[in-house]
Symmetry: C2
Subunit: 482 residues, 2 copies
């Protein structure tokens, strides 16, 4: 026991150096940051963001306006180095109108919406018998003549039964089969009561589906399935979307230069874009407002921390972390100076702490800071879970230590990507506590003598991805090679 | 203690007579009824009803088709005496299309639907600034010039804060004020996440509102309210409904003649009509299918019970119990022979027993039957609660003993009047248990020597209504005079 404790102490002494600040020594500054957040007006910032532009769909005019607004916000805090950093997505898409009707055996209006990044139906819409598909494995789609002139009802509860990671490659292979066979459109069933729809697309990377696609409410989908037991069901769909070719999207990046090691940097990021059924208050208005608020309190410090802090608001997250991925590609030559990435995009739930994305060494390094500075903010927990579901993802592929804000998500999926993701669901205490945890952690990481944890090599990243069963998906979408 | 027990025994002996059948003596027959329901196909009947016609809105072609279908169902069970009994509603109404847009300060599609029994907007729709109204008391509406050319946003959470009973008279007084002032339309906020809407109308009795009216999802309503804090909000509404003048609606009534006292009758009823966001599986397809199923098992008995049983499927329940009220008016001269009314319209939840609608004597009379015959069907509980929310209502106004099937409603209001009221929510065990409770109770009431409880006089009815705080509402809507 004694030896083990001694060993830990020695490791700490080695890593931080004898001159390193302890949690209690940093506390006067981190307390100022936290207090400024608690008494600050970030809730008003979030309200401004969510009520001023409408939904911030990647590539839309509303997204661009919100990006310009964010630039002005950073500047209003006294931060000079603020810029729009453009990247390109393969296709721009904006929702128009969508209507669906059951034509026979009974006449009913159907609860549908266009899937994201799908084309319009031909003028006048499409009408056809429904063919139900509950398995999109290639061997099940061989008899593709039966799709000609039909509308394909994809049973989402079956197709995604094994999870998105397994379903995506099969679906990617199925689309050209459906298109070549002459299917009119696809309709994917949703999963929630009251025909509540979850906005989403089908392809990774803001690429346009090769045929029109709609999602349909759970109850209406089930009715079609029941009626199919008895005989043919004919439905019609009329969908009008605006699509464009390659489209420029702007990330927003601001920087506060470090006072002692300005070439070393940490990044605090959140995606600015949202889906478009609501105004993305928790996904990810809360994260966006948090990044702005943390920038504000850092800008108000008399002296910045040792290292530089970059504040990033990403576009294209909802289509596959496209903005953060583009940033990593564009800044490859300075990633070696990136000490850590802090991301916030899990909703504004009651905070828990940080996800360390599979890094046991990072968890160990964080522990004294979590205990010493974050516990009282209800942010002292550390999770080893690894995900590639938000913008820390592209950074962990390069071995960079990443922290993703960990909050109670029990209510998050009630509103996620739905019409209910609006500011009235945001609890101000939870929201501000999350912001304080980000600010305090950022200060510690930017200020401490040694980096919180080293970069890890490609093979070690691969091990983490494999453990998390993410490697195949990431290879499939082209962002990872083992 | 002894004297009290003796008194109860004497009352029982007096009421039932020495020759009356006990629960255990009736059990062989009631067991046959229950067993036939458990092995029967009422779930298929419910599926046929809910998947064959679409929503069964009162006065719609789909309602009429479902009524004709029900007639055929009764006949298919061997019941000869089946008829459509028409009544008239002041206005027919069918939903067309409805769209709403926020024009400024931001441009957004709004989640709206037409309120029931409201007219269309003028061609091209209406566009106007929003005036928020959270109190419709007459004194708050005096400065009515401010409504001219405006769209009035009624805050449902405030207006209905004291309950429907108190709100309705105020609203009834407010409509002509809004209309005369030249308001363009009213928009009522709904109360559930994801902009989920609850189909409803604003006036009792299938009367047309004097100006266009929409309901708006909770999140979209709240956004408008927040934006109104900062300045004007302009929205546009385009609503197209079909309306007609006085419209004939058919109740469906079938009868199995009693074997010994055919002039005495009990009535088993449920409303056939539904709201139109879904297919009314629990409200009240389940009740309708239950009445049909109970008719089937009674028709299959070798010998009917002593008294006649009428099976009634009502129209117009959702607009104010209009079908059952019309029936009571049309059959006033034989109500004295109506021994009891059994109603089922509280959803297909896990059964509890019966509501006795404020009648302590009825509760006492039911107790031995509940204990002896219904407990094993999970239907042994008795509630004294009095409501005028479904079709037992018009009968209790005449002092007739009424039983309203009492079930667990904890999940009912998740689907009530919403797009989610579809057959996939119906649990077959709960549904059939409810049917069995109705059948067993009906047999007992139709077969027992003495009526289960006497009619009570007008003053006693008044006392029950007053206790339940229903008297003022019922006076207001014109169905009750003290």
């Amino acid at each position: 026991m004694i030896r083990r404790t001694l060993a830990v102490l020695l490791v700490c002494a080695f890593r931080q150096g004898a001159w390193a600040q302890s949690p209690s020594e940093m506390k006067p500054v981190t307390d100022r940051l936290a207090a400024s957040i608690y008494t600050g007006s970030s809730m008003a910032t979030l309200r401004e963001l969510t009520d001023s532009f409408g939904a911030r769909l990647t590539g839309s005019p509303a997204y661009q306006r919100s990006a310009e607004w964010a630039v002005e916000k950073f500047r209003s805090y006294g931060i000079q180095d603020v810029k729009l950093e453009p990247f390109t997505i393969p296709a721009g898409w904006q929702r128009g109108s969508a209507s669906g009707t059951m034509v026979s055996p009974i006449s009913r209006t159907l609860a549908i919406a266009s899937l994201g990044w799908t084309p319009s139906t031909p003028a006048g819409g499409v009408k056809g018998s429904v063919v139900m598909i509950s398995d999109v494995s290639p061997e099940k789609l061989k008899d593709s003549d039966r799709f000609r002139g039909k509308i394909l009802l994809l049973d989402g509860s079956k197709i995604f039964e094994e999870g998105y990671v397994k379903a995506l490659p099969k679906l990617d292979a199925a689309w050209p089969v459906f298109q070549k066979a002459g299917a009119l459109a696809i309709v994917l069933t949703d999963r929630e009561k009251n025909n509540v729809l979850n906005a989403h697309d089908m392809l990774w990377g803001a690429r346009l589906l090769p045929l029109p696609g709609a999602e349909i409410g759970m109850e209406d989908g089930k009715q079609i399935m029941r009626l199919l037991d008895n005989g043919p069901v004919v439905i019609s769909l009329t969908i009008t979307n605006e699509t464009s070719g390659e489209t420029k999207v702007n990330n927003v990046v601001a920087e506060i230069r470090g006072s002692e090691r300005p070439d070393e940097w940490i990044l605090i990021g959140a995606h600015l874009d949202s889906w478009d059924f609501a105004t993305g208050a928790q996904d990810n208005g809360a994260g966006t407002a948090s990044v702005l608020e943390v920038a504000r309190v850092f800008a108000s410090l008399g002296k910045p921390p040792r290292r530089s802090i970059r504040f990033a608001l990403w576009g294209g997250e909802e289509q596959g972390l496209l903005g953060s991925y583009a940033y990593v590609q564009a800044h490859t030559n300075e990633l070696n100076k990136c000490v850590a990435v802090l991301n916030t995009d899990n909703g504004a739930g009651h905070p828990r702490g940080w996800k360390v994305e599979g890094r046991k060494d990072l968890k160990q390094a964080m522990q004294p800071w979590s205990d010493g500075l974050l516990k009282d903010l209800n942010g002292g927990d550390l999770s080893l879970e690894t995900t590639y579901d938000t913008d820390h993802g592209p950074f962990i592929l390069h071995g960079i230590p990443a922290l993703d804000l960990w909050v109670d998500e029990s209510k998050y999926f009630e509103i996620h990507h739905k019409a209910s993701d609006t500011i009235d669901k945001v609890d101000v205490l939870d929201f501000k506590a999350g912001e304080a945890i980000v600010a305090v952690t950022a200060y510690m990481v930017a200020q401490s003598q040694s980096p919180i944890a080293p970069h890890i090599d490609h093979a070690s990243v691969g091990d983490i991805l494999k453990d998390a069963k993410l490697d195949e998906l990431l290879e499939h979408v082209g962002v990872w090679k083992p």
